[in-house]
Symmetry: C2
Subunit: 526 residues, 2 copies
């Protein structure tokens, strides 16, 4: 049986608190620093590596983190999760997003079906549908091919699939894998749908409506918006729409859609990129083989997350260093900084993944916890961020731990040599320089030009951003967040904090308000 | 003479620390809450209003903040700035971005010219150039009209103009003001330029190269990338490029450009949207009249920032409430949450504006300060964020002050009625609901469903997002950041924290490295 315990009850946590802090500028200097870069490196899937040399840890702290992993039984909890235990206790649900990518343990039977078979069946159905669309066997009413796929969804039905699409769009163009352009409608702001519709050719567009319950208000509103536009263009909406929903939702087996692909309650929105939620739009945009490569990369990362040796388990290591930074060093934020323009929206996805999972104040039994939990996540791609908010990261009053991501090669391969180096080399040189600048700092008599250093960062380095390495990257972060949730003893799979706003918004729309809410509603002319 | 003092030396600051904290859930409840919403409201330019009812302030705290404004002479410092004093002491420069929008005080003479006249002259030159492009008097070599304008710049030459373009693109389409599509190349990642170039028709594209010094490595690299692409397409780069640069840069009066528009050292990158940096690309995209409307909105906001009565000076009020939250309440972050999809990149711009300006640890005399300075800024549009990171904002262990922005009307005006309300009404209902949910919370026996409340927010409400109201919004935040810098006694106009990384990156590219830097470079194959 898994034994769920609060972080601050663990002997290893108390040991961690008592250990001497690492003087990062000192240990990262000279040959010792070089040794750290060689030594503090963990393998990841798809040729990625996790280098944590510039984190404020040493062998003693890492040994204490390994004890913490054992005492908190992180692997046992992961095993319980992938074997189908009800780990999402708040909502009394299994947690099965990894099962979309592979079988990590026992067969998981729920709702009378083998869930791995269920997920694979949806992938197969999507693949067949996508191939027919690409082959011109499923077309618009005039028999013309669909050229654009538009995802209508919000939160996890938007951020993950959108970030992945943006990450692979140029790769797909270069490699001949771009089958359809994709667009995304998410915000209930009517300008979002209107803006997207003004940029696409609706007659040749296929819309993927994503709502697990079939009742998400933003999504249904945007669906109506789109259906109006289709009708105004003299088109039959039922010929332009597919649904991604649960089998019991009103959208399933509904004549208003060309087809429906199914998800279930065991995959939360922010973990759903590997399910039909990501599968439909990404298989249509890039072809099902590309989506399969993405899932395979994620499956490799999932397998590595089962590794017992902490030093070889990058997701657990990343998680525990984050716990150390949050709970022992007291840092509130983590910046995600990909040196890859293709990953421009990846930080926004991780922001949801992490903050919605672990931004909690009660443990999994609903008892208040007395220690910090999930950090605030933000980030933008480098080198752009260097010319923006890095000033505060280098010289501000609060230390922000950082998570860099970099690749040895560009996606497109088109480059120029200026001042003796390619753009890709400049990109890599900048991320290397930033890590060292943040860690080591630089003295200066003019304190305005002095850098204290001691600002910890890790970097994930890959050869190239491809569907498989992107899958590995995504799964790494999903597993990191999962391990952190286990360490903090929170339920990373519910999101009760989003409910109150929904309830009050309904009251406003029903004009059932008083006090401040009535006044705000009046100011906004509702 | 202005008297520059550290925040913690002020009697009013000590008074502020001693005042009782506001119990936000209590004061925002019932009729008292309704009264606060009516009372705690300051006018802004262009019909915007700043409502701070849900901030943790009361009349006593506001009175102490007014004393602080006086004791720290915030208006005197603003006056010194707009009258041309060398307020950017680190770089020994004047700070003149407001002068692009209007004359707030005395004539400012620098480098032997009247700077207002200089900025207006550049606006006029840009307007004439843009009109000729739109009229087909300036064309490509085949005499065909340019249809796309591409900004090549990074940091302030990218984030502000890009955020503004995105904010007005759909408005411009709807109102017939979209003269040219705009695109942006910024990152040194070669995939950025390659990706943009694959999406545009280079033969009909005009590129705006923005670099004050004419030596920004990312920008020159991307320029070469673009010039290669033009040459490969058989086009003469000199017929497709204009420069925005300083009069003394190598790009000025250079035959490689159709024309050059000038900026100077008195406007920092992050404040440069009102200068030729924003002016060229935005006048080309929307027409010079639209850019003039934007500047007029900003000028109105600047005038209001001179207001002596704190309760009528929204920028100063916003600034001082932020100082109270940062220094007295101890919050590290501020989330910017526009309920407007058009403002999707506005938070990224404010992130630079704020964090690069006030993310400092020394005062303007280069002495360390012992109190927190600029906060960490992040944000995404609502309602999307509600389905993402709001979980942590509602129930996480750290309180994050929030800055909402909302409008009564959509930009495009196309809408649908679902379940009795329009999308725009749903959008407004959601932001009203969130403010109250964050402030008041909700009790529940199940602590997982309990909301503590006490999470402070303000909202800027406008009628509609237009060029003028966007200008007012931007200037509000610029002036807020300026007042906060004055309050903290930091120099908000330099950015020494970005230098070390540049120096080290050059070393990497010259293979002049050892220790950790050499190892990271090897890992990245440089």
């Amino acid at each position: 049986m898994t034994n769920w315990k609060n972080l601050d009850t663990l002997a290893s946590y108390k040991e961690l608190e008592s250990l001497a802090r690492v003087d990062l500028p000192a240990v990262m200097a000279g040959e010792n620093g070089a040794e750290r870069v060689k030594k503090y490196c963990a393998p990841m899937a798809e040729g990625l590596t996790f280098n944590f040399a510039a984190k404020a840890v040493d062998d003693d702290i890492l040994a204490a983190l390994a004890k913490l992993a054992e005492e908190q039984d992180l692997l046992g909890k992961f095993e319980a999760l992938y074997n189908g235990e009800v780990v999402n206790t708040g909502e009394k649900r299994l947690v099965l997003h990894q099962l979309c990518r592979g079988q990590l343990g026992n067969d998981v039977i729920a709702d009378g079906v083998n869930k791995r078979e269920f997920y694979v069946k949806q992938q197969t159905r999507i693949a067949e549908f996508a191939k027919k669309v690409h082959a011109g066997e499923i077309t618009n009413a005039d028999g013309e091919k669909f050229t654009t796929v538009v995802q209508i969804g919000i939160g996890g039905s938007d951020l993950g699939p959108r970030a992945i699409y943006i990450a692979l769009e140029n790769w797909a163009k270069t490699t001949g894998n771009l089958k359809m352009n994709a667009a995304f409608i998410s915000n209930v702001d009517p300008d979002d749908a209107a803006g997207v519709l003004s940029n696409i050719d609706v007659k040749h567009s296929l819309f993927v409506l994503v709502s697990k319950s079939g009742t998400t208000l933003e999504t249904l509103t945007n669906e109506s918006f789109v259906k109006n536009a289709l009708q105004e263009a003299g088109l039959d909406p039922a010929k332009h729409m597919v649904a991604v929903t649960s089998e019991t939702s009103p959208l399933a087996k509904n004549e208003g859609y060309l087809d429906a692909f199914y998800m279930d309650d065991y995959i939360g929105g922010r973990y759903s990129s590997s399910s039909a939620v990501g599968g439909a739009v990404l298989s249509l945009a890039f072809g099902p083989e590309v989506f399969a490569d993405f899932l395979n990369g994620a499956a490799e990362a999932d397998k590595l997350a089962k590794e017992k040796d902490l030093r070889k388990n990058a997701a657990m290591l990343d998680a525990l260093i984050g716990v150390y930074e949050r709970n022992v060093l007291g840092y509130q934020n983590t910046a995600v900084l990909p040196y890859s323009q293709a990953l421009s929206r990846f930080p926004a996805h991780l922001q949801q993944l992490d903050m919605e999972s672990n931004g909690k104040s009660v443990n999994r039994f609903g008892e208040p916890v007395d220690y910090p939990t999930g950090p605030i996540i933000f980030g933008e791609p480098g080198t752009n961020g260097q010319h923006s908010f890095y000033q505060l990261l280098h010289q501000g009053k609060n230390i922000v731990p950082m998570q860099f991501i970099g690749f040895r090669n560009s996606q497109i391969g088109s480059d120029v040599v200026i001042q003796g180096s390619t753009s890709q080399q400049k990109l890599g040189a900048n991320v290397a320089a930033q890590i060292v600048a943040f860690a080591c700092g630089k003295d200066d008599e003019n304190l305005n030009k002095k850098f204290d250093g001691g600002r910890p960062s890790s970097i994930i380095i890959g050869d190239k951003l491809t569907p498989a390495s992107l899958g590995a990257l995504l799964a790494h972060f999903e597993n990191k967040v999962m391990f952190q949730g286990f360490a903090w003893n929170v339920n990373s799979f519910d999101q009760e904090g989003v409910q109150l706003g929904k309830v009050l918004a309904k009251k406003v729309l029903a004009h059932d308000t008083d006090g401040a809410l009535a006044e705000y509603s009046a100011l906004l002319n509702i």
